[in-house]
Symmetry: C2
Subunit: 221 residues, 2 copies
């Protein structure tokens, strides 16, 4: 079980060195492009960023799904780790609220990640399986906080996921100020009881107000 067997996994022969390098370039490009344009980004944009031809992208990842899954597999680890870390915090409420803030910001910064986490399922069984690795971690986070009596007992780990997804879609990448306010309000709503609201930071004089706080980079129609 070593050395030069030509098949490394499932009978597939290893990629030639240049192909392997291109695969990496494509994944890096896709991460970047998906993050800013979402999962619908064109393959030619990815190819352009990667510095390869479109054909190369299609040969390596014949379906969009293949690319999404390969990327997601890398990214989900970070999220799981973060959730476990939060669950291990000696102060369960701090763990919870830090995870919430972090989760919201990472989804806001990466449209692709947000879309995979929210729309996963439907056909992407591999993605669904990966995503489910997140569930026990979040569940543990929720239970710790509930046992400590700080988190309302009638919310579940799915509610928490929903809340993160929801908040992560507020504003563009640059409107962390808006999201931060709303996260604070939601956390106040998740608490078992409190005597006064957690103070909100002021919104720095936004001229355009409510306009364009969702889907800020849509093509004009």
């Amino acid at each position: 079980m070593s050395s030069v067997t030509p098949a490394n996994r499932e009978g597939a022969r290893p990629l030639r060195r240049d192909a392997e390098r291109n695969r990496g370039l494509i994944l890096d490009a896709a991460r970047q492009v998906f993050a800013s344009h979402g999962l619908d980004a064109g393959f030619d944009e990815i190819a352009r960023v990667a510095g390869v031809g479109v054909g190369t992208v299609y040969r390596r990842f014949p379906e969009r799904r293949d690319l999404v899954e390969a990327l997601f597999e890398q990214e989900i680890d970070v999220v799981v780790a973060r959730a476990e870390e939060a669950a291990a915090d000696p102060d369960p409420w701090r763990g919870l609220s830090e995870f919430l803030h972090w989760g919201v910001e990472s989804q806001a910064a990466d449209r692709g990640l947000a879309e995979v986490l929210a729309a996963a399922g439907r056909g992407h069984e591999r993605v669904a399986r990966e995503r489910d690795r997140l569930r026990p971690a979040v569940l543990s986070l929720v239970q710790h906080a509930q046992r400590a009596g700080v988190l309302r007992p009638d919310v579940g780990e799915l509610d928490l996921g929903l809340v993160v997804a929801m908040l992560g879609r507020v504003g563009g990448p640059e409107r962390a100020d808006l999201r931060h306010r709303l996260v604070t309000v939601v956390l106040d709503g998740l608490a078992v009881r409190r005597d006064a609201p957690t103070p909100l930071a002021a919104v720095p004089a936004s001229e355009d107000d409510l306009a364009c706080v969702f889907e800020p980079s849509r093509p004009r129609r």
Copy 2:
């Protein structure tokens, strides 16, 4: 200033009767199609539903914007009325929470409305002007609740709009159960103080869990 002047407004002559009727049919169709497919819906779909040719839609509304604006002008009135009604409620908290629930559901039921309210601005100056009619009404709602000491004093009317928009995007039209839970949590977060959480209705055994709770009717990719 009466009778037969050929120009009724801004020098435009009145439409022929059949044209006027078609205009109405198109608006009705557009309302319906925008509600389910969002503002990106194709003009031919609208034409099909209206029972007219595509050409007719284009002649009456040369730009998509014209159609959106004409529709929005009709719909915003309802929202404004509802906000004023809520502000006039003798129980300010009840007014606020009923408005929140209603606003969230109406946006969830009408993707087009949600998109106009959120993305308005950019170029649609007519839409922006209409939308601003909503502001004083919501402001009054907020102030009543704050003067009564039930709504936290550090949120503004823009926060409220943001919250409605955000919650309205959770789940498909059929997942009012999920939205209802989250609205309750957010309301608990908006309250000045409370001793115990408002109880949440249980989520009716959702098998698919978190999957597909956002953008539930996207084209498969």
